[in-house]
Every structure is written in structure tokens, then in C-alpha cells.
């Protein structure tokens, strides 16, 4: 038996036989085809589409006239002050700042509290994760009514404070409410990741630190953060990559009717493409917007990754 086993191993049974190759081919065929079509061909098609125009006669997308026309429109739109795309870009950056930078900071504080097993940590962990599993559309619909109807009436009735209906009345307030909601609901996954990594830090480090007289906050800043730096950096990079795709639940709140002054790029592009009565003629320009934002995001993400890698503290555990 042992001899037979050795002979199998020496013949490299796994890669050597036609049966193995056939099996391998059969297993990867469908996933690879799916990936080829819905990642690479979609991307290529998006690039081609961005150079085309819609032909109203045939109903097809064709190369016509100046193939850079859509990019010219992109540039003139984004560079003109007060354009909806310019505002959407600014809003995307604001949303990213709050959900990514402020959100990550708070998630780190919360995670440390949970890992240290302070009072109620298991309950808080569950509460932080709860919004992640509840349907975003259900949660956002309740949240909107909670703020507009209940909170508004409650504050006026019992404290004489008139906040109006923030999701409805004041345009500026609408964006604030969307950002606030995105921050509130976005802790779940991050906290799970951070607590997972923080819990792997040896207990002895914390004990030594306590003996040296450092308090919890100092331990968090000087020991925990440097040790989990790679995870933080991964989240920061992922956040940068998602700047122009994030909707911030805006579609949940407003459907296709969000005011142009509160739209983000993710919402703006999605809303130009999907929904009743969306014009097929707009697709090439939307594709050009997408490609242009990808061209901005890819190098930014790579540079951010490079910078964050450089800043990585030299620590091991």
C-alpha cells in the first residue's frame, strides 16, 4: 500500500493525468467564462461604449464623428462650476471622509472596547453588527420616518425645538441625514474584522503594558494600532477604491428622485442607467463618466496603497 502511495506521489498524480486535466477544465470552465464575460468583456465594452454614440435610426451604438466627444462632455461638465457632476464629486468626497475616515476611527475605538471585554461588550458587538444584517431598504425607510415624523414631532412637542422634516424640507439637511445614516449603519463588518485581528494580539503585551502603568487609551494608541496597521490600511485603501461607487443609501431614501445637490457620483451614474424611462442614448456618456472616474480612482488607490505600505510600522507579533 505504502509503495503504491509513493508511486502515486512520485508520478505527480494531480497534474500528470488526462483525467485530472479534464476534471480541472470542467470545474473552472463556467466560473472562468462568467468572469471573462462579466468582468473583462463588460469592462472592455464599457471602454468601447464610451467612444460611441447612440444611433436613433438603427437603435445601435456606433462610432460616429469625434470619438472623444463623450470625454469632452465629461471634462466640460466636471470643470464647470455648479454642474451636477461636479457637485456629485464633491459629495462623494465628503461622504468618503465621514464614512471612511471618521467611520474607521470610531470603529477602531469600539473594537478595542469590545476586545478588552469592558461592560456590555458582547451586547454592543451585536448591536453594531445588527444594521449589517437588516435589509438596507427596510432600515432606511424606517429611519427616514423615524427622523421626519417621530423625532421631529417629539422634539417640537416636548422640547419646543423645531427641526422640520430633515429628509424632506431642507435640501442641505438631506445630505447630512444621508451621511449620518451611512456612518451609523457602517460599523458592523469593520468592527468584526478589527476585533478579529485585535483578539490575536498576545495578552502578555497588554499585561506588560499594565505593569508599566499605561492606561487603556495609551495601550490602544501605542500597542494596538501599530499591530493592526495592515488591516487599517486595507480598509483605508478599500475606502478610497469605493469613493465613486458609494451611494450612501441615497437610492434607498429617494429612489431616482434625489435632489441633484445631494447626489454622489455612485448615485449619479446608477441613476442615469437604471429605472423606468432611462434613455439608452445616455449610455455612452454614462460609460465615459465611468471610465474617466476609474482612471482617476485606479492610480489614486495604488498610490494610497504604496504610501500606506511605506508608513507601515515595523512590528511583528
Amino acid at each position: 500500500m505504502e509503495k503504491k502511495l509513493k508511486s502515486y506521489q512520485s508520478k505527480n498524480l494531480i497534474t500528470g493525468t488526462w483525467k485530472a486535466k479534464l476534471f480541472y477544465g470542467c470545474v473552472i470552465a463556467i466560473p472562468v467564462l462568467q468572469c471573462t464575460i462579466f468582468v473583462f468583456i463588460v469592462l472592455l465594452n464599457s471602454v468601447f461604449l464610451s467612444f460611441k454614440q447612440y444611433d436613433y435610426g438603427t437603435g445601435e451604438y456606433i462610432f460616429k464623428g469625434n470619438i472623444f466627444q463623450n470625454y469632452k462632455v465629461f471634462w466640460s461638465t466636471i470643470s464647470s462650476s455648479g454642474s451636477s457632476l461636479g457637485i456629485a464629486t464633491k459629495n462623494s468626497l465628503i461622504l468618503w471622509f465621514w464614512t471612511s475616515l471618521v467611520g474607521i476611527s470610531l470603529a477602531l475605538f469600539f473594537s478595542f472596547y469590545i476586545v478588552k471585554k469592558y461592560k456590555g461588550s458582547e451586547f454592543f458587538k451585536t448591536m453594531l453588527f445588527l444594521p449589517t444584517i437588516v435589509s438596507t431598504i427596510a432600515m432606511s425607510l424606517i429611519y427616514r420616518r423615524f427622523v421626519d415624523r417621530f423625532l421631529s414631532d417629539f422634539l417640537e412637542q416636548y422640547f419646543g425645538v423645531d427641526i422640520g422634516t430633515p429628509f424632506y424640507d431642507e435640501v442641505k439637511m438631506r445630505f447630512v441625514m444621508v451621511v449620518l445614516y451611512s456612518c451609523l449603519m457602517g460599523f458592523g463588518t469593520q468592527v468584526l474584522m478589527y476585533t478579529g485581528v485585535m483578539s490575536r494580539i498576545p495578552e502578555s503585551l497588554s499585561e506588560y503594558a499594565s505593569l508599566d502603568g499605561i492606561n487603556a487609551f495609551q495601550e490602544f494608541i501605542h500597542i494596538t494600532l501599530p499591530l493592526i496597521y495592515p488591516t487599517i490600511s486595507t480598509f483605508l485603501v478599500a475606502g478610497i477604491g469605493a469613493i465613486f461607487t458609494a451611494h450612501g443609501s441615497m437610492y434607498d431614501f429617494y429612489g431616482p428622485y434625489a435632489e441633484s445637490t445631494i447626489q454622489t457620483v455612485g448615485y449619479f451614474l446608477y441613476n442615469r442607467t437604471v429605472g423606468d424611462g432611462k434613455l439608452l442614448a445616455e449610455y455612452p456618456l454614462t460609460a465615459a463618466y465611468g471610465v474617466a472616474f476609474t482612471l482617476i480612482t485606479v492610480p489614486t488607490t495604488l498610490i494610497a496603497r504604496w504610501v500606506l505600505d511605506r508608513l507601515s510600522p515595523e512590528v511583528e507579533y
Binding site: P31, I133, R200
Partner: protein, 294 residues
């Protein structure tokens, strides 16, 4: 000594400040859900002028059973047609189960073969996953829609399954690292006994990481249960409960239907909360396990 450390933890200013912040956070989340439930019990007329959850002047209207038939959305077709909440729940179950299955299976088998069958293409596929995950692509929905329509799978069940059969995601890496820790000796012993390649994969190796597979399946199930944008984009005429909520909200112009809308919201939420309570460790544990360290 240990006692001293514990004492310090207890009276830490950090713990006090963050504990208060977490307490407020938890209160807000619970308040939103509890208010949603209390307001859903109001009569429609009362909801207009009184949304305080502790006042029921016109009595309690428990809509959680009747909503299954009264919560409806009208959809455009050759002939406009109604879809009721019970049908939407049926769609939710079918869609979430089948898509979760395909979304789990695809990265699972790909992770297995790329990890255990050391062809050159395995390395290429692994790198493709990493690249696709790292490189952010913006605004390809128009292009995807065009291709989906070109392939004739727009607004079809099979189309929604195909779209979910991708493997270039985080769970490929989760499965890949799980297979990496598995000894290949089990497989070799089975090959010696005459087992085939599919038998070794499905009968021996995959069952060894069953807990991880189940966690990933659960996460996908909850994700697809809650997802409405993918369906709205590619499969709009078969609304799940989540998509039904979106349609209902979009089509409701007055607040007369709001208690019913809130009832719908809670009804969509209840199954995942039950699932969460039963499989809390599985749902929260897997992500911790997948915690990225670089």
C-alpha cells in the same frame, strides 16, 4: 496583581467614554426598530396626526397577517399585474437560496482546484482574483446591462443566477486559505483506493471545511435576502420582499399607506433577525476568521 489590572479596566476613562457612546448608539438603533414596530401597529388615520409610539387613541391595528395579502405592488407588463407580499416572500426564498448556493459554490470549487492542482493557470487565476478585488472599476452598469440584454438573460431567473456565479471575491480567498491548511494526504489516500477527482473534491475535501462553507452560505443568503438593487437592475419583474418594499415606497405618494409600509419593513426584517439569533456565532465568526492581516 491580576485583580489590580481588572480594577484598572473597570474604571478606565476610555471605557467610560466609549461605553457611553456605544450605549447611545445601541439605544438609537433599538429606538428606530422599536418605533418602526410600534408605529406599524397604528391605525392609518391616527398615524397622520400622532406618531408617538405610546399613544393608541384609535386602538391597535395588527397588520402582520393581513399584510401578506394587502401589501401589493403593481408592475408594468403586457398587462399590468399585481404582486402580493406572500408571492414576494416566495421569490425572496427562491432567489436568496439559489443565488447563495451558486455564489458559494463558484469561489469554493475555484479555490479548491487552484489551490490543489498546481497548473500554471491556477497561479494566473489566483492573481486575477487579487487584481479584480484591488482595482476599483466605476460605472459599468450600462455596459453590463447591454451585455445582459444581448445575451437574452435580462429579467430572467437564470440570468440572475449567472450574474451571481462570480468567483473574484473575498470568499475565494477565505476558501483558498482554508484549503491551504488542509493536508493533501486525505486525497492521496482516497486516490490510492480508486476514488475519482470529483469524488475526492465533493466527498472528502469539501466536507472538511463544512463550517466555513455554511457561514459563507449564510452571509450570502442574508445579503441576497436584503438585496434589491441587483434585482431592480437586472430582474425587475419578479420582486422579492426587499424589492417590493422599494416599489411600494416609490408608488406610495401619500402617507395613508405608511403603517402598511412599516409593517412590510418589519416583515422583511424578521426572518433575518431570527436567522441571526440562531446562527449569530456562524455569521459573526466567519468574518472574524476572514479578518485580513495585510
Amino acid at each position: 496583581m491580576e485583580k489590580t489590572v481588572k480594577k484598572k479596566k473597570k474604571f478606565s476613562v476610555y471605557a467610560l467614554v466609549i461605553g457611553i457612546a456605544l450605549g447611545i448608539y445601541s439605544f438609537v438603533i433599538l429606538a428606530i426598530l422599536v418605533w418602526g414596530f410600534m408605529a406599524s401597529l397604528k391605525m392609518q388615520d391616527e398615524y397622520f396626526y400622532n406618531v408617538m409610539p405610546w399613544l393608541y387613541e384609535l386602538g391597535i391595528d395588527f397588520k402582520y397577517i393581513s399584510a401578506l395579502t394587502y401589501f401589493e405592488v403593481i408592475l408594468d407588463g403586457d398587462v399590468p399585474f399585481y404582486v402580493y407580499l406572500d408571492q414576494m416572500f416566495g421569490n425572496s426564498i427562491t432567489y436568496s437560496l439559489s443565488c447563495a448556493f451558486i455564489s458559494t459554490l463558484s469561489p469554493l470549487v475555484m479555490a479548491y482546484v487552484t489551490n490543489k492542482y498546481r497548473y500554471k493557470i491556477s497561479g494566473v487565476l489566483h492573481k486575477i482574483v487579487l487584481i479584480v478585488m484591488v482595482v476599483p472599476i466605476v460605472g459599468t452598469t450600462a455596459s453590463t446591462l447591454e451585455i445582459v440584454k444581448f445575451l437574452g438573460i435580462y429579467d430572467t431567473f437564470i440570468g440572475s443566477l449567472i450574474l451571481k456565479a462570480g468567483f473574484t471575491n473575498l470568499y475565494f480567498l477565505v476558501f483558498y486559505s482554508a484549503f491551504q491548511t488542509l493536508s493533501w494526504e486525505y486525497a492521496e489516500a482516497a486516490f490510492v483506493d480508486g476514488a475519482s477527482h470529483p469524488r475526492v473534491m465533493f466527498g472528502i475535501m469539501i466536507p472538511l471545511i463544512r463550517p466555513i462553507i455554511f457561514s459563507v452560505f449564510l452571509i450570502f443568503f442574508v445579503t441576497y435576502w436584503n438585496d434589491y438593487q441587483t434585482l431592480y437592475t437586472y430582474y425587475p419583474s419578479h420582486p422579492t420582499a426587499a424589492l417590493g418594499l422599494f416599489y411600494f415606497n416609490r408608488n406610495t405618494t401619500t402617507s395613508s399607506q405608511e403603517p402598511m409600509l412599516l409593517t412590510g419593513c418589519l416583515l422583511v426584517t424578521i426572518p433575518v433577525i431570527i436567522l441571526f439569533l440562531i446562527f449569530r456565532e456562524k455569521l459573526m465568526g466567519n468574518l472574524s476568521m476572514g479578518g485580513i492581516k495585510g
